[in-house]
């Protein structure tokens, strides 16, 4: 069973994305990046983010990740804040620690591309 399946697949993401987005919007370190006029579109992108973090099916390449985040001037603190909110979301949903560790490993792997380093 893949990590994505263990986490519960798409229904699990649907359950998690509202919680996660709410946390991100309430976090002063990063909320400014996520307050776009079109909350629905932003919501869809949060879902794409979670799908990736959960090791789910997506067509994003490292290049796409660089492209999506370029120009935002993201730093380590921004990155950590997003990662922390993701972990807090998973804790809230009572996801077992070993699965959370796997999610963190995936997210950390994308760090270089996201920060355009």
């Amino acid at each position: 069973m893949s990590l994505y399946e263990k986490l519960g697949g798409e229904p699990a993401i649907d359950a998690a994305v509202d919680i996660f987005y709410r946390k991100v919007l309430s976090n002063d370190r990063i909320s400014q990046f996520f307050e776009s006029t079109d909350m629905e579109a932003q919501h869809a992108k949060q879902k794409a983010f979670m799908t990736m973090a959960f090791g789910g099916p997506n067509n994003y390449t490292g290049k796409d990740m660089r492209e999506a985040h370029k120009g935002m001037k993201l730093n380590d603190d921004h990155f950590n804040a997003v990662a922390e909110e993701l972990v807090a979301t998973l804790n809230e949903l009572k996801v077992p620690q070993e699965l959370i560790d796997e999610v963190v490993a995936i997210v950390s792997g994308a760090k270089g591309d996201v920060l355009n380093k």
């Binding site: 987005y21 919007l25 309430s26 307050e35």
Partner: protein
């Protein structure tokens, strides 16, 4: 370079340009309105299915089958051929049966036309086949035998000033639509929160009528906001509906006093209270989990309210928004 083939000519799209931008820059007379994918006045046709898919949001299945797309939304990534379609195929004739002022700034327009719609949807109205504007429906498809729209009057406004001074009962107006999905979908048990500012009351009124007609079981909370007390309209009608339904609560909140408050049409000084609508909602509805929320009015209001309601616990897909966008020459605000 991305190429557009149009009427025997080849045009080149510049970086970031939409198909509409390119055609207008080349001097073609292409009808257009909101340039935001809302009014559908710039609708065109193309065989390049892959290049237009992203510009078909909001179109009907029939329109998609006909390979129509919205040229103001279309950013093709490779060669595309585009054709005009006859706009009249998208329009319906509507007879004006009433134009009157509901207060100093709100025009009530009633039309007779045979279209199928859901309460809360919007129409595009045309002036002289050139100027397009979107307004939301306040009427109900089965309870009313007319279409009703509330138009904010703006002095010098290209459309609203014309509507107020030149349009007469009996005139024929071209309309397009209905569009939009800010509608009551029959979630009977859920509590509803209906938030309107200014002429956002138009679709909210339609949605309310629909919820009642469909025998909504849960509570219905209506909060209507305006800049000052004299901006409220349809107050008696709403109060009457609320009085007949124990499950409906109705609140009016205005931002500031004006010295003309003493001459409000309603002669009723108690129906509204002064305050901040965001603060009021935050305190009164501090947990919106399980609620179905409708937010209608100016873009800034919708944006802020949507975020607030989401943070107060409403699911993202349980929040429907009808946000008035500003057209190029006329701000539809409040």
């Amino acid at each position: 370079m991305t190429d557009i083939a149009f009427e025997d000519k080849h045009l080149t799209l510049e970086e970031g340009e939409t198909v509409l931008d390119t055609l207008l820059r080349a001097g073609y007379d292409i009808p257009n309105g909101c340039r935001a994918g809302i009014c559908q006045s710039c609708i065109m046709k193309s065989d390049a299915s892959e290049e237009i898919a992203h510009a078909q949001v909001g179109l009907s299945d029939a329109q998609k089958t006909l390979k129509y797309f919205l040229s103001c939304r279309c950013l093709p990534s490779s060669k595309i051929n585009v054709q005009r379609i006859s706009l009249s195929s998208q329009q319906t004739n509507a007879e004006v049966i009433d134009v009157s002022m509901l207060n100093e700034t709100v025009i009530r327009l009633r039309l007779k036309a045979s279209i199928d719609y859901h309460a809360g949807q919007y129409l595009t109205l045309w002036k002289d086949g050139r100027i397009a504007r979107c307004y939301s429906l306040a009427s109900h498809p089965t309870l009313n035998d007319y279409l009703e729209l509330h138009v904010k009057y703006i002095k010098g406004g290209e459309f609203s000033a014309w509507l107020r001074s030149d349009v007469r009962v009996g005139d024929i107006m071209k309309i397009q639509g209905p569009f939009g999905k800010c509608i009551y979908a029959g979630e009977k048990e859920q509590p509803l929160l209906l938030l309107a500012i200014g002429t956002g009351l138009s679709p909210i009124f339609g949605i309310l009528q629909d919820a009642i007609a469909k025998k909504h079981q849960g509570k219905i909370h209506i909060v209507v906001g305006a800049r000052s007390k004299e901006n409220f309209y349809l107050v008696e009608e709403l109060q009457k509906i609320a009085a007949q339904n124990k499950s409906i609560s109705l609140t009016y909140i205005y931002q500031e006093e004006t010295n003309t408050d003493t001459i409000t049409a309603q002669n009723n000084t108690d129906f509204a209270s002064k305050g901040d609508i965001y603060q009021y909602c935050k305190e009164r509805f501090d947990n919106l989990k399980g609620y179905r929320v409708f937010i209608c009015g100016a873009e800034s209001f919708c944006k802020k309210m949507r975020k607030q309601c989401f943070l107060e616990g409403a699911d993202m897909n349980a929040i429907s928004v009808d946000s008035f966008i500003s057209f190029t020459e006329e701000k539809t605000e409040g």
